[in-house]
């Protein structure tokens, strides 16, 4: 039997990122690498700095110090003219916005932050495709309906505005809108956060399937360790702006090493 190929290219190289609003408010000296095909969970309590870190990683907020480097790789559908390495905050605003629109995706906790509530579901899904240059109305509509079915929404409601949808439906629509362009890297901020438990379960199952079938690489922020167990391959535990422990998800949850992680894991109620 041959040795398995376990090396995976680094997609995101995060180097010494600091973004502080005050002492221990924000995130400090964060270093990690995300490998292609990995789902990395960032866990911690509110105020741990995990959401600030996500905003910096996702290109929404420049860090005080440090670099976020995105590495494109040969073998993937990267055009020759594309640079192999992009330093997120060294490139221009226009290039960064193009990257966020074309190759990355962001799923907000509150679907209202990620959707345009006044325009139809179909237009919401089609918007990123149009930004990529697709103009054919019939095709956009067909893709929109296909994606609505994929996220278990009634495709017959393609002309309805998201404000007429329930919270769980809005979240699924936001996911469809984000994934329709097949982003290589997706950021998710508490994607199941504001939802009822029954709706959460359905969404979790859907996300697992999409991550696997699309081969997504994901950075997921959540305070919910059960969600982290189900979705993340690897975890990073944050406290007061710093990373206290990282490791395989099962190891972090079954054999936590750091005092704070032990406290966090042992404080979870299991029904």
């Amino acid at each position: 039997m041959k040795k398995p190929a376990l090396e995976r290219p680094v997609l995101l190289d995060v180097q010494d990122i600091t973004r502080l609003y005050g002492p221990a408010k924000g995130c400090e000296a964060i270093d990690f690498q995300l490998h292609a095909g990995e789902v990395l969970g960032i866990v911690g309590e509110s105020g741990s700095g995990k959401s600030t870190l996500l905003r910096v990683l996702a290109g929404l907020e420049a860090p005080d110090a440090g670099r976020v480097v995105y590495r494109r790789h040969a073998g993937e559908d990267v055009l020759d003219r594309d640079e192999a390495e992009l330093d997120l905050y060294a490139i221009g605003e226009a290039q960064r916005r193009a990257l966020l629109r074309l190759e990355w995706g962001l799923v907000h906790q509150n679907p209202r932050d990620g959707l345009r509530m006044g325009v139809s579901a179909g237009a919401n899904i089609g918007e990123r495709l149009m930004a990529q240059g697709q103009r054919h109305y019939g095709q956009l509509r067909e893709t929109g309906q296909a994606w609505m079915r994929q996220v278990e929404l009634d495709a017959g409601r393609i002309d309805d505005a998201p404000r007429t949808f329930s919270g769980g439906m809005q979240q699924r629509l936001q996911i469809a809108r984000t994934l329709v362009t097949r982003p290589r890297l997706v950021f998710m901020d508490e994607p199941t956060g504001g939802l009822d438990v029954s709706v959460q379960a359905r969404l979790l199952d859907m996300l697992r399937t999409l991550v696997r079938s699309l081969g997504l690489s994901v950075v997921l922020v959540t305070h919910d360790l059960a969600v982290a167990r189900l979705l993340a391959h690897r975890l990073m535990v944050m406290r007061r702006g710093q990373v206290v422990e990282t490791g395989l998800t099962d190891q972090i949850l079954d054999d936590p090493q750091h005092e704070y992680t032990q406290l966090l894991v042992s404080s979870v109620l299991t029904p």
Binding site: M1, K2, H35, A201, R202, R234, Q257, H258, Q262
Partner: protein, 250 residues
């Protein structure tokens, strides 16, 4: 049947230690394993024996990456080289678990809303297998394990302990991993289904899988074990592991 005298083991464990340090309990240190060593060959099933709490499951969890390897070495041997698990970066475990190390845990981790058959086929889908083929293989295994067909499309959350365990076994065996860790897979099964599991283990041996297992049922143990590895209160399972099972049991 693969020869057990096959010179190259598939797995070697040497000088393994495990200690839990509980910060919340005033820094309580619990030693659960000291200086454990073993070798495991392709096509062989090594059964861990010893009272409960002696560290049998702990060893399996260390081999699966669930527990940190504090001290000692765990090495997997391949035709073209060796892999050291104690220094393996976390991201490399994903592929290792998908393709090399399979694990049948004692209890099924239930995912809400996911049907039994989907739970079983997931390890194949993770490798990019065709969905129809994967489903067919999952159904074949569930049928072999006598799980009533009406349950296949239901999430296993409401199943009985024995039914959940059979789903878990099917999920563990479907991937035909070259190294399989079995944590009491027959604990809540009736005699008929125990026989099915024993047959599955026999087939895994025949295709060259190396297995490390925990079985409390002595009858099952006698039927699947090629060797026993006794763990005792000295916390060190020492040099005597290569004893033949007959010898150990007599």
């Amino acid at each position: 049947m693969h020869s057990m005298t096959n010179a190259r083991p598939r797995l070697t464990v040497s000088g393994l230690h495990k200690q839990f340090l509980l910060h919340g309990q005033g820094g309580l240190e619990i030693d659960v394993m000291r200086d454990l060593s073993l070798t495991l060959h392709a096509g062989e099933c090594l059964v861990l024996a010893g009272r409960s709490g002696i560290g049998k499951s702990t060893l399996l969890k260390m081999l699966h990456g669930d527990y940190c390897i504090d001290q000692g070495r765990i090495r997997l041997h391949f035709d073209d080289g060796t892999l050291d698990l104690e220094t393996l970066p976390a991201y490399a475990w994903h592929g290792l678990r998908r393709d090399v190390i399979g694990y049948v845990s004692q209890f099924l981790r239930v995912v809400p809303r996911v049907a039994a058959v989907d739970v079983v086929m997931e390890p194949l889908l993770a490798r990019g297998a065709d969905e129809q083929d994967a489903r067919q293989r999952a159904e074949t295994l569930l049928a072999r394990l006598n799980l009533p067909e009406r349950l296949w499309q239901l999430p296993p959350g409401t199943f009985s302990g024995g039914e959940q365990q059979r789903v878990n076994i099917a999920r563990g065996f479907i991937g035909e991993h070259p190294l399989l860790l079995l944590d009491e897979p027959t604990a809540s099964l009736d005699a008929t289904n125990r026989d099915v599991v024993i047959a599955l283990i026999g087939e895994a041996k025949a295709r060259g899988a190396a297995m490390l297992g925990i079985f409390h049922d002595e009858d099952v143990r006698d039927r699947v074990a090629d060797r026993l590895l006794p763990l005792d209160d000295s916390l060190g399972a020492r040099a005597s592991f290569t004893r033949d099972v007959q010898e150990t049991l007599s």
